[in-house]
């Protein structure tokens, strides 16, 4: 089936999203959106396995509650792409704003460039569902705050060190944050601890690194022969000792 092409120039997000919904309901598997400029909620709550190509800069909450499709953005993304996303993937050929992958429960978010504050905040996993956020560039503060599950991987391409903002994993109680190179202890948030990155860890992450690099035409080999820092929760019950009964 031919991809459906929609010109988003000057179209408000509600009619735009209605058109996308209608196309998917009629069985379309591929949608191309041109001239996207700030329209929010693209892919919001969509199910199925359609592929949406976004040429331009989508607005906030790209792929929120999304459960299956893939959105590939040729441009930057705004606030909270992948918010509470369930399944599917976002591939962003650019940078993204704050709260990327907020509360994401499953699927993948790949950001080629940098992300803002609170990336991967409160990501969580359950049984087979394990969300993955990979960032090619760097991240601002509070990466993986309150994280309850899943994987955050920061490659830090073009950045030395890969991350230099503080509060990494503050309140983390599940999941793991993996950052290329050494991460200074002073950058770790409350409740986060750094552990040794082992060969098994690298093996485990190899498919993720290869997939990410494949999507952006990056040579994966340097990243498969590299040291990383692995940051995990100091406890799965960070608040267990905080209270006394009345």
């Amino acid at each position: 089936m031919e991809p459906v092409v929609i010109d988003a120039k000057g179209v408000h997000y509600t009619p735009l999203n209605k058109q996308i919904r209608a196309a998917i309901a009629s069985g379309v598997k591929e949608i191309v959106l041109n001239n996207v400029l700030g329209q929010r909620f693209i892919g919001n709550g969509l199910r199925g396995d359609a592929k949406i190509t976004i040429n331009g800069v989508p607005g906030g909450d790209l792929g929120m509650f999304m459960s299956g499709p893939e959105c590939e953005v040729f441009g930057d993304a705004e606030h909270a792409p992948g918010n509470t996303m369930d399944k599917g993937s976002l591939v962003i050929h650019g940078s993204a704003g704050d709260a990327v992958a907020h509360s994401m429960r499953g699927g993948k978010v790949f950001v080629e460039g940098n992300i803002g504050y609170r990336g991967g905040i409160h990501m969580k996993e359950y049984e087979g569902k394990r969300p993955i956020l990979v960032v090619g560039g760097t991240s601002h503060a509070f990466l993986g705050e309150y994280m309850a599950g899943g994987l955050i991987l920061v490659l830090g391409i073009g950045h030395e060190p890969a991350v230099q903002d503080r509060g990494i994993g503050s309140g983390i109680h599940g999941g793991e944050i993996v950052i290329r190179g050494d991460v200074s202890d002073r950058l770790l948030g409350v409740g986060a601890k750094k552990v040794e990155f082992t060969d098994e860890d690298l093996q485990r992450l190899t498919p993720v690194i290869e997939e990410f690099c494949g999507r952006f035409d990056i040579d994966p080999s340097p990243f498969l022969n590299m040291d990383y820092s692995r940051i995990i929760p100091a406890s799965s019950r960070p608040f267990a000792g905080k209270y006394t009964w009345e």
Partner: protein
């Protein structure tokens, strides 16, 4: 040096002449007050929480409970509680955790408000023979209606926003599966289905046992986003964003790992035994514009077919906050007063933060009217409503409907012992222990809760009839039907009511 023990909170005694050693007290107490030694029932009063389970199950009325059997030297400032809290924290260095609502003896404004009744000039209405219109629609109302005329037919041109249709202005507030048991939640769900109203799911997803009643549920999305996916959003009749809670404004919630059993884990979609942490703020809402974005995101995800509520705790600037919410595309604002209940809250929050629902509802209603946007949102009042009098007064102060929480749990057996956070509720409400949960039969429980709603609904009709009103719209925001009794001028002005006699 050891601080020693503090005196008993409650003393249990058994009238041994009356007792027939049926052992029901032993079986029913989940806190371990009773045990049998040499065919004698031994009592450990220190473990008692005054939940009254044993007392209610004793066939001979043989059990007596005395609160605070040991006196301290009386002192108006250094009350027993003040002293014991200091001792507790001197021992532990921790935050004191408490259950149920605000336990400080603040004046109750509801009890200083009186309702009106007709005498000679306006006849009162008898609800026995006159229809009383209690049907309530929650959601946006259009500022004006446009029509088209075609061949003498009139058609509505204005597109109406989705509304919830309630047969009575009483809904049940959000108590999550996890905070309460499945049988408790199921009882509430069946009760609202029977009485034509709605209940909140709380933040914890929806267990599949609730699916048959999903058309009567309001699904909640809170800062932890537990159990939230597109299926969940589509199941609810409406969606509520929980920003704050009256019992603990400004802070999040922690469901302790002990309460995350297999079923709760599955419904919330988190690993077994892990803490479920709801952060204090929503981390995608750092401004009023962000709130509007979440409201609209939920609407986009559900095709603009469902009303979206925003729940906030009643705090100092509640009116201005509600005015912001009314401009966010939200359909209703829920205001939770500082007497609202909870399974667990830091005591210092429960007892000290927030404002009473009466003042908050009146201030919000007034502000929205002043700004000409009252039609944009419905107002739902909650937080410590005890009876139909509180219900009628809330509506007269400007609410469209109310949420009840604690009252609906009392209808299931709760005696307000305030130990919900222990997870041992002998009534099977605030617990996940299977042997305790099965103490609630949801068919019986739902009938009790439905009876409560029916009783209040009948009383509300009678109160309205007595005031000469036959429609809930005529009571809503009708301050003329209220008078303040022994309220100060400042508060009368906030409530926009006159004093008794005026």
């Amino acid at each position: 040096m050891s601080l020693g023990s503090v005196p008993l909170k409650y003393k249990i005694s058994i009238d041994r002449d009356q007792c027939m050693k049926c052992m029901r007290c032993v079986d029913n107490c989940s806190y371990g007050v009773y045990r049998i030694e040499d065919d004698k029932i031994i009592i450990d009063s220190r473990k008692c929480t005054a939940c009254h389970r044993c007392i209610s199950m004793c066939p001979r009325d043989a059990i007596m409970l005395q609160e605070r059997p040991v006196d301290y030297r009386s002192h108006p400032l250094w009350t027993t509680e003040a002293r014991e809290d200091v001792i507790n924290q001197a021992r532990s260095g921790k935050i004191i955790l408490s259950g149920m609502g605000n336990a400080v003896d603040y004046p109750i404004i509801f009890d200083r408000l009186v309702l009106d009744a007709c005498q000679v000039t306006n006849p009162s209405i008898d609800p026995l023979r006159e229809p009383m219109e209690l049907r309530t629609y929650i959601g946006k109302k259009p500022a004006k209606l446009d029509f088209t005329m075609k061949d003498g037919d009139v058609e509505l041109k204005t597109k109406l926003a989705p509304n919830l249709k309630l047969d009575t202005p009483i809904m049940i507030g959000h108590m999550s599966y996890g905070a309460i048991s499945l049988n408790a939640q199921l009882s509430l769900a069946k009760a609202v289905a029977k009485t034509g109203t709605f209940m909140g799911t709380g933040e914890g997803g929806m267990h599949e046992a609730i699916y048959p009643y999903q058309d009567h549920t309001i699904v909640q999305i809170a800062s932890g986003r537990f159990g939230v996916d597109i299926d969940y959003l589509e199941r609810g009749a409406a969606i509520e964003i929980k920003v704050g809670q009256g019992a603990k404004p400004g802070i999040g919630g922690h469901l302790p790992g002990e309460k995350v059993c297999a079923d709760v884990s599955c419904t919330r979609m988190i690993p077994l035994g892990s803490d479920a942490i709801s952060p204090a703020p929503h981390h995608d809402i750092y401004s009023i514009e962000d709130l509007a974005q979440l409201v609209r995101s939920l609407k986009e995800a559900t095709n603009w077919e469902k009303p979206v509520f925003v729940k906030i705790a009643a705090v100092h600037n509640v009116a201005a906050i509600a005015a912001g919410i009314a401009r966010s595309s939200a359909d209703a604002v829920v205001i939770d007063g500082f007497k609202g209940g909870t399974g667990a809250a830091p005591k210092v929050f429960r007892d000290n933060v927030g404002i009473p629902i009466e003042a908050a509802v009146a201030a919000v209603d007034q502000k929205l009217n002043d700004q000409g946007i009252r039609n944009e949102v419905s107002i739902i009042a909650s937080g410590g409503l005890r009876n139909s009098g509180d219900l009628a007064k809330s509506i007269a102060l400007g609410a469209d409907a109310v949420y009840i929480g604690t009252a609906s749990l009392i209808a299931l057996g709760c005696r307000v012992c305030g130990s919900c956070y222990r997870g041992l509720c002998p009534w099977g409400i605030a617990t996940q222990r299977p042997e305790l949960v099965e103490r609630i039969d949801s068919d019986v429980g739902s009938e009790n809760v439905a009876n409560l709603i029916r009783g209040w609904t009948l009383e509300l009709s009678e109160l309205m009839g007595a005031a000469g009103l036959n429609s809930i719209e005529s009571l809503r925001g009708n301050r003329e039907r209220l008078r303040g009794y022994m309220l100060d001028e400042g508060l009368l002005d906030v409530l926009k009511i006159e004093s008794v006699g005026a």
